[in-house]
């Protein structure tokens, strides 16, 4: 071959910091970021922290229809301009920084519903100009929802709604496994809207608990939840969803989230020192995921979260 090297397939395995820079640069072109998982499960939190450490601002944040800790943290660091998520809550309590920033007029929280967000992602994933919705009635959300329009159904003539494509510039996902080409496997019971987001977005970056050999994927292709075709980069990050859960590997860290929310509530009522310290120790301080794991409590601490998953 005259010394020329034969081209080989490119691995999509990326380092956490490189992935964060890829996302930051893309989001400077268009600030629409979408996060996989749901509430306290399967959230790509290490990627979010990486992005915050790399420096992001004026973000428009999307998600599956329910989010909490990660969006609140992004707001706490001043990275968010608009929130396009129907439900923002820690479930057992309100999101303190979300509340504070929206009440102070610093962040716009749009009134939305699940079908608008899912329908918009469907339109983008399927490459059609809009998705009809015929199940929105009576709620004040309809008076404020910026993403929907009323249209006449061309078949029944009935007034229905349409949502245009939601096309995130960058989507972060968290899955339990991937091969080096970026084929993802969710081993958790629910996969939320992750598959839809992967197909709807410009750039998809996934964190996984572990990279597995090619044979694991090839031996069971129907187990792949997101084919590598849709994935641009994959990062192996131990406990990359913490403090949310990555079932069946580790459970959500309710204590950590509660302690964070206490600091957020203190900031909301005027004392921001604890929250700033939290951000320094967990977001801007750690140089690696290893540093983060130490800052949270080390290997023994995480072993407890692993044991939690077996308590059913």
């Amino acid at each position: 071959m005259n010394g020329q090297t034969k081209p080989t397939r490119r691995s999509k395995v990326t380092g956490l910091q490189d992935a964060a820079h890829l996302a930051r640069d893309a989001l400077q072109e268009r600030p629409e970021l979408c996060l996989g998982g749901l509430f306290k499960q399967g959230r790509p939190v290490a990627l979010v922290r990486g992005l915050l450490a790399a420096g992001a601002k004026d973000l428009h944040v999307y998600s599956s229809p329910g989010a909490g800790y990660d969006v609140d943290l992004m707001i706490a660091t001043g990275a968010v301009e608009q929130v396009f998520i129907p439900g923002v809550t820690l479930e057992n309590r309100l999101c303190p920084n979300f509340r504070r920033a929206v009440e102070a007029g610093q962040v716009t929280a749009h009134a939305l519903d699940a079908l608008t967000v899912v329908g918009g992602l469907m339109a983008s994933a399927h490459g059609v100009p809009f998705q009809p919705i015929d199940a929105l009635r009576g709620s004040d959300v309809l008076k404020h929802n910026p993403l929907i329009r009323e249209i006449d159904c061309p078949f029944s003539g009935r007034r229905i709604h349409a949502v245009g494509p939601i096309r995130p510039r960058v989507t972060f996902l968290h899955a339990q496994e991937a091969d080096r080409w970026g084929n993802l496997r969710h081993l958790s019971t629910m996969v939320y809207a992750d598959q839809l987001m992967a197909r709807a977005s410009d750039i998809v970056i996934a964190s996984v608990d572990r990279i597995v050999p090619d044979e694991v994927i090839l031996d069971d292709p129907s187990r792949v939840t997101v084919p590598s075709h849709y994935v641009d980069a994959v990062v192996e990050v131990p406990y990359g969803a913490h403090p949310t859960a990555s079932f069946p590997h580790y459970a959500m860290d309710e204590d950590h989230i509660d302690a964070y929310a206490d600091l957020g509530d203190a900031a909301r009522t005027g004392d921001r020192a604890g929250l700033d310290d939290y951000i320094a120790r967990h977001v801007t301080g750690p140089k690696s995921q290893g540093d983060y794991i130490e800052a949270v409590g080390g290997a023994e601490y995480f072993a407890r979260l692993e044991a939690e998953t077996r308590k059913r």
């Binding site: 309100l94 007029g105 019971t189 809207a193």
Partner: protein, 255 residues
């Protein structure tokens, strides 16, 4: 039965009795009481009731969890779905669903968006809500907040997140709300239903240990009390035994 019946146990039993065999339904966001009610109905009289519509079918939790969006709370389940299928369920509707909020008003409307101010300049910003469709595509829904005070039971909500009966039959018709909407409001104090003519909330029964006057005092609007208000039928021996021994093994509803 040794320990006294807790208010949450009473709520669970009231809701379970109204769920029928063969129905399809799901619990919504604040799932503790609704999931216990569904599980109790399945154990007692509705073995063919299907739990579905929230991205999983027929979960078998080891014990009760406050949220069903937790793989541990699902325990084992028969199948999982995604938000794509939830989009379909939301259009087709379920037989029943459950809701609760920051404020509930005299027509069963529910607010999860803001208390005071406006949406853009809220006094207090709430969490919002994901699914606004099951409340009117489903055959009916239940309102089941775990507190009942003049703060969360108000004459008129500041924002209608989940439409109940809006301002009555005419408004409901104009908005295209064609199903029953909220059937019962079940709280730790009492059961309310809606006057079929006006669709205004009224006191149906009070749980043991409460008087109609007390319930009215903790409600921010007139509950239309006329004459004697019956007591909510307490749990039977069988209901309580099954609830405590097979569903709420850790006593979460009594905590």
């Amino acid at each position: 039965m040794s320990a006294a019946v807790s208010p949450l146990e009473q709520m669970v039993v009231v809701l379970a009795r109204d769920l029928a065999d063969g129905e399809l339904g799901a619990a919504g966001a604040a799932a503790l009481v609704p999931m216990a009610a569904i599980a109790l109905a399945r154990e007692l009289h509705a073995p063919n009731l299907t739990v579905g519509g929230e991205m999983f079918f027929n979960p078998l939790p080891g014990h009760l969890y406050p949220s069903m969006l937790d793989d541990r709370a699902l325990g084992r389940c028969e199948a999982a779905e995604t938000f794509i299928e939830l989009f379909g369920h939301s259009h087709h509707g379920l037989d029943f669903f459950f809701h609760s909020g920051l404020q509930h008003d005299s027509y069963g409307n529910i607010n999860l968006h803001h208390v005071g101010g406006t949406l853009d300049a809220p006094g207090m910003r709430g969490p919002g809500a994901a699914n606004l469709s099951y409340c009117h595509t489903s055959t009916r829904f239940y309102v089941c907040p775990t507190v009942h005070t003049t703060r969360n039971f108000v004459e008129k909500v500041d924002f209608i997140t989940i439409p109940g009966h809006l301002s009555g039959p005419e408004a409901k018709r104009a908005a295209g709300l064609k199903k029953e909407g909220p059937r019962f409001v079940v709280t730790p104090r009492a059961v309310m239903d809606f006057d079929p003519a006006t669709l205004r909330m009224r006191l149906k029964s009070v749980h043991a240990g409460n008087t109609p006057e007390e319930v009215q005092r903790h409600t921010g609007f007139d509950l239309g009390i006329r004459g004697d208000v019956p007591q909510t039928p307490p749990p039977t021996e069988e209901e309580l035994t099954v609830l405590r021994e097979r569903i709420d093994k850790t006593g979460t509803l009594r905590a």
